[in-house]
Symmetry: C2
Subunit: 604 residues, 2 copies
């Protein structure tokens, strides 16, 4: 199993790489850009490590051996041979019978007539949903295997929950090029890359009529688990690994207690213009929010929310307000059935119901729109019961990285005939109070998001994008094709194969030289558009992390998923009938119209 290669077979010098960075935020508020010391210890003599070429196929594990040799561990890969390149008989049959992921994707996103039939046959539909849950779950290593400080398995990848997980280990720092052995000695200049590949020429609207309700949902939802600890680096998180609704209630017990009213289970609110809103920050001193110290904001413009970052944009504030109202509404419903329950039990049970609502809406409204599947996606956790599905999740660094969807952000938004540029809205809830929350929500509904593709990135977000790319380099992510292989997709063979656009392909080829050297994020965004809101590689890598994160929630597990957990059948039904439309319509004052992740038909 050993192969001799012209290498010295020396390992990198240890020492924890304290990678440091920022970003992940939509607006590049400068105060967020905290820096720390970066001490990557360079190897004393750069060794020629044969594993730098990633010779093991089919997820075999490469191990460097003395005398310029390596071996591939093919355990459980369904393959054997020096490089795990030969399929076992059963793997060969499976591979031969199974259609390519792109073919499957095209099938699920078209043929509406076929799916209209399948969606109506409960037995068949259940079987398909079970397959979706299990096959997506299987793509995610659970327990997690890698973190960003080592290019091999350590016990800390599991026990140190401050780490984001890694689907693929980092490229060893001692390799000949930043991408291993392929590509140039230096990665392309970030500013040049952004200019050539990312910056918006003119606004490209999202071709599936996606609106800003969708964009802000993505942001509000994902920030409950993307909680990078910027002071420690882009590989470290303060979060808890999944849908913990900490974006609504707060991340720790101190914050959660501060946001409670301590009456009837409800959250603290205040009335402004006859409507319920979150309390002012000055009234909840235990909470700290990310308001910039150097920007003057009146005390009546600062609010205490479950997530410090949600001060940033009025769209996030709108979602925060609606969820706060929904929690209090659910408490009222619970009290009807349980007039004897105390504040604590109402609060805790409402929080469980809200968790269920979040998952239900995320799968059936959000992911349904995101994927553009014609298969009707349903939230049926019981389908995973008794299977090998693991009810535990770790957020992966690549998932966080991938979820920088800033091309969705338009250059501005029109609320009630007033135009706001993005930068006008930073740390500014004024548009909501000037026009009213309902008006602002309808503006989100009626405004088109941008297409998630190359050359559609708002200029004002340049600093955020730069940080994303820099962080990807600090974390030494393997290239796009490595992730394509990891998630069972065929690697791209050329820049034109990747982009489908000769001009963009030429630019990328000039920058990277080799298709195998294209960075993960750059490849994700420059991939040719597909039938979903994101290009295919993003669907097929993000999809498993997303499904896994949603279904691995404790409330989906057999002992939780029953009426008594949610205060009885009434509470259970709140989850089972939740939808985006109901969420908003039950909590808007003046009535709701066209609530959806798409602009209404006829919108210009």
């Amino acid at each position: 199993m050993q192969k001799v290669m012209a290498t010295k077979g020396k390992e990198e010098k240890g020492g924890m790489r304290v990678v440091v960075g920022v970003a992940g935020v939509v607006l590049a508020a400068s105060f967020l850009f905290m820096r720390g010391p970066l001490h990557e210890t360079p190897a004393p003599e750069a060794p020629d490590d044969p594993c730098c070429a990633f010779p093991c196929e089919n997820q075999g594990v490469c191990m460097t051996l003395p005398n310029k040799t390596y071996s591939c561990d093919c355990t459980d890969t369904g393959h054997y041979g020096d490089d795990c390149e030969i399929p076992t008989w059963i793997s060969w049959v499976t591979k031969s019978l199974k259609p390519d992921p792109e073919t499957i994707h095209n099938l699920i996103t078209s043929n509406w007539l076929l799916w209209a039939v399948v969606n109506r046959i409960p037995f068949l539909h259940s079987r398909l949903m079970t397959y979706v849950y299990i096959s997506r779950g299987d793509m995610v290593d659970s327990p997690p295997t890698y973190e960003s400080d080592h290019h091999y398995i350590t016990l800390d990848a599991y026990f140190n929950e401050s780490y984001y997980g890694r689907a693929l280990p980092p490229i060893p720092a001692h390799c000949p090029t930043p991408m291993g052995v392929v590509g140039h000695k230096e990665l392309p200049d970030v500013d040049e890359l952004i200019k050539k590949v990312f910056l918006r020429r003119e606004f490209i609207p999202e071709p599936h009529d996606t609106n800003l309700m969708f964009q802000y949902y993505a942001q509000h939802f994902t920030h409950q688990f993307f909680r990078t600890d910027y002071k420690k680096g882009p590989h470290i998180t303060k979060g808890q690994g999944g849908v913990d609704v900490s974006n609504i209630y707060g991340l720790n017990e101190q914050d959660r207690r501060a946001l409670r009213s301590w009456e009837n289970g409800k959250l603290k609110t205040q009335e402004i213009n006859g409507e319920e809103f979150p309390p002012y920050l000055k009234d909840v001193p235990a909470i700290s929010m990310d308001y910039p110290p150097n920007v003057p904001i009146p005390e009546t413009g600062k609010f205490a929310l479950g997530h410090p970052f949600f001060a940033l944009l009025p769209g996030l504030f709108a979602y925060a307000t609606i969820w706060m109202r929904e929690h209090n509404r659910v408490c009222g419903e619970l009290q009807k059935t349980h007039p004897d329950w105390d504040d604590e039990r109402l609060y805790q049970t409402a929080r469980l119901i809200i968790t269920g609502e979040v998952i239900k809406i995320t799968i059936e409204d959000y992911v349904q729109h995101l994927s553009q599947y014609k298969l009707r996606l349903t939230f049926e956790p019981q389908l995973t019961h008794g299977t090998r599905f693991q009810y535990h999740n770790r957020i992966h660094a690549e998932f966080n990285h991938l979820y920088h969807w800033h091309p969705l952000v338009p250059d501005g938004i029109k609320v009630n005939n007033t135009n706001y540029a993005i930068m006008d809205m930073a740390f500014n809830t004024q548009p909501i109070f000037k026009h009213g929350l309902d008006e602002f929500i309808h503006a989100m509904v009626n405004s088109r998001a941008g297409a998630l593709t190359s050359r559609n990135h708002a200029h004002s977000l340049h600093p955020v994008l730069k940080k994303v790319i820099e962080n990807g380099r600090l974390l030494r992510f393997q290239g796009l094709n490595a992730y394509r292989r990891r998630f069972a997709m065929r690697p791209f063979t050329s820049f034109l194969d990747l982009t489908g656009d000769p001009d963009l392909a030429a630019d990328l080829e000039g920058l990277y030289g080799d298709i195998e050297a294209v960075e993960f994020y750059v490849g994700l965004v420059t991939e040719r558009p597909g039938p979903s809101i994101t290009p295919l590689t993003m669907v097929n890598t993000g999809g498993p992390w997303s499904v896994k994160g949603l279904l691995a929630n404790p409330i989906c597990s057999p002992r939780y998923w029953k009426p008594s957990t949610f205060g009885g059948e009434e509470g259970f039904q709140i989850i089972k009938t939740a939808s985006l439309e109901k969420l908003f319509c039950a909590n808007m004052k003046s009535g709701c119209k066209n609530i959806s992740f798409k602009v209404p038909p006829g919108t210009p």
Copy 2:
């Protein structure tokens, strides 16, 4: 599904019960007894909650409803009816065919001829081991459902990992009696209980020839995950949920770094009398150990170990020393195959191998002896792959509570013709350096442990036992019979049925009045002796937590359990061939003799 009862159906007043305590330690060193405020808010009017009678059978969940009613949630119990008392047809068949756990236990612990045959038929043996793993795993709710601050499911039971889990929720504080509705208004006086039921009359040796190697192994092994945060209360842990080898390496990165030599992956050592020992505490200032401030101990009697508590007894120090030597020995072995590896990779990989050795020895030597199974227990993690087994674990408060095995402790130990009383050995490593480590180890091998039964508790450990019982009351554990039902055993019908001893039964009846009111720990220890080292209920409740904790370790999961994780086939073989005997024989200076969890044949 609702039943009317003469109750007011009021919930307890919320507010976090900050339960507080101590103990869990073998010796009641007074400095460990820290106290905090105890504020259990009493209900404003004590309600008659029908759920206090635990009416739901077969793990149905009771929910109080208004107007003195309740309902049982029978989801997934295989039963229906108002109290989940009627089995479904398939449950009835399964129940009828499945022998009683006591019958199974008697079968596995006797009939050596049958098992001698079965143990030699690989196919059959594998099937049985798979059954042991999966059926034990199924008994543990994973993800965890309850914690000690609420008597219903909350999101915190999962997301707040500071909580020990709970297999059964606490008895609500508003119930008419401490045990629900049964038993006296007050639980028995602890001192009287200890005197009548626990204190040693005369030393009863363990009837299966168990020695002190076993007792100290139990203590050394379990303290890696029993890490109660006494300042916060007996329901809170600082630990990480399983076999994280933190008892060898330290619980956090700071401690782990302090204990490393930073050369060739090895741990810091020092030479004393020509042998390798852990460093003095004075030489590792970052480590803090639980040495009592009020007892004078010379600087050469204080050592820096992975667990602050292991300063307590020379038996723990002996195990700590042997594991430290084993880590360094494994580093040496790894270096032979990987002369190019740096300190970091050698350290991390050796730590993974040590984790495997710990699990292997715990299953194949320790649990094998503990259970007295004639079925040969084997560590074969691949048997769980692809099944519903969950590779994640939470330590349960009941497991911690149950594992107070102080009756094993004799009144003293004889080392090389010197007698040491227990209290002579507290915080005193002198016996090891006076007689030599090897001599001390042989003394542990040759000394009989006490029987784990009633009236065999060393007098000097009275304060520890008292704290255990008090903590059980603070945590409001349900009674022994509730746990018998939870773990599929038939409840005891009388005190004689429990103890098998008319005298002890009479004493217990006087103290508790009702067999249903017997406290968990008291029942565990007073149960009639069975074929294993512990009585049956302890085997059948502790067994699932133990098996689950060992097999749910990340190294047992499909992506970890392969040669490359452990530095290749050589490292994998170190795990696969590990044994207690090899561990000691490879790391003792003058040679080893009779290394085992039993005293040698012929020992008086």
